[in-house]
Assembly symmetry: C2
Homo-oligomer: 252 residues x 2
């Protein structure tokens, strides 16, 4: 089936792949050879001719703290050499999209309706500022990932504060991004200690690092603090298991 896909379609798909680095890492279905059965069957689904919205870029709802933290890490993504040339820095901003399944075969259980409508849980609301506004930065050399999160009014748990499940969701996202740098992974354990609630509308910093590697296991820690680092909101450990492509697709 792949052979009937036009060159333009393939180009369009490859552009998406190169933009969604994080997801091509977490879900290697996007980076495998176009001769593989999984990519062949993707051709039956619509492919992107448009440039998808990158949710990790600033929008008008981002507050001062969110913007300052974004600028801080973004400035470390490109450095200037002694000759005045620009080079890649140690950090890399991870783009973020809300539609991936549409272009993949993952979910053999899914109806076509669901395949076409599925959205990433953390990016399932289009209204800017209403839910998770976040951006992830990766430092591969030091095996670190930092997430900056501004929580919107749709994330409420206790009145006026972020739901514990929304915090868990972002911890899974930040640690999962780091865990998947060297291949596809699935979350095996999340152990989360909630120290102080996060008020809705505020910005927090989520810092994660690799603690230990044991065969297929990756142990990662994560700390959630206020924007200025003065208040510890949440501490967590996460365990990820490296999995094969088949595990991911078939949900074993």
């Amino acid at each position: 089936m792949a052979r009937s896909v036009s060159t333009n379609i393939v180009k369009g798909f490859h552009r998406l792949v190169s933009l969604s680095a994080m997801w091509s890492i977490r879900h290697p279905i996007y980076s495998v050879s176009s001769r593989s059965p999984s990519v062949r069957s993707m051709a039956v689904l619509p492919l992107p001719f448009f440039k998808p919205r990158d949710f990790s870029l600033p929008n008008s709802t981002w507050g001062t703290e969110m913007m300052q933290l974004y600028d801080h890490y973004n400035s470390m993504c490109e450095v200037e050499t002694a000759d005045g040339e620009k080079q890649e820095g140690k950090w890399k901003r991870m783009p973020g999209y809300n539609r991936l399944l549409k272009y993949a075969t993952g979910g053999v259980y899914l109806s076509k309706m669901m395949q076409s409508k599925a959205r990433l849980f953390t990016r399932n609301i289009r209204e800017p500022g209403a839910a998770f506004e976040y951006v992830l930065f990766i430092n591969s050399e030091e095996q670190k990932c930092v997430g900056i999160l501004q929580s919107g009014h749709l994330l409420e748990g206790p009145p006026g504060h972020v739901h514990g499940g929304a915090i868990a969701t972002m911890i899974d996202t930040v640690t999962g991004c780091l865990a998947s740098l060297s291949g596809s992974v699935m979350t095996a354990n999340l152990n989360i200690n909630y120290r102080s609630p996060i008020p809705l509308g505020t910005t927090v910093v989520m810092e994660s690092c690799v603690e230990k590697l044991e065969g297929r296991k990756k142990f990662i820690s994560c700390k959630v603090t206020s924007a200025d680092g003065s208040k510890l909101h949440t501490e967590a450990t996460a365990l990820f298991l490296q999995i094969s492509l088949n595990n991911l697709i078939l949900g074993r």
Copy 2:
């Protein structure tokens, strides 16, 4: 300010309180005397003259498994005596709403815009079937809570499967409902073992029970299985701390 509130408004509010049993338990702000400062200040915010939508009632998107499980637990909420009279059973269905903060002072940090727009994280999408379709049943006598969840296409994590954060969110919700039966609580710890991924669109059963009480601490376990109970998806423990009303309002 409360004294200026008309009798009708107060009646309307009390109706909401009686309908939202779970939330009046979790957030005792709804059951305190109308002379308390927190309720006084609620009068500046709009009060409900309408009957809010109860999200825990079946809708057309609920599949066969979801309906069968709902009917099973719902049938145990009312029993017939030998005389043919109907009595309350051991189980109770917990109604579920998506707007609470609007009527409360929780969140001293919040702008008025955010106070009016805030929604419970698990009920923040109005489209039926798109995200969390769930209902909770409580058995106070046996200290158990059962959640029935049908996950929609907006909860995606790994392609075709439910996001680990969405599962964590529902575990927090089910265990939190049980923990809050005897007063307001906050989640202190969630420890979640993900055994097998949950395909999008399927229905799972979440069974939780109180394991131990130690002073202000409540230890609760939760098991997530497929609708027929044959497959274990997730196991978790949760620790909740009983808190005072001030803690809840001021986020301390």
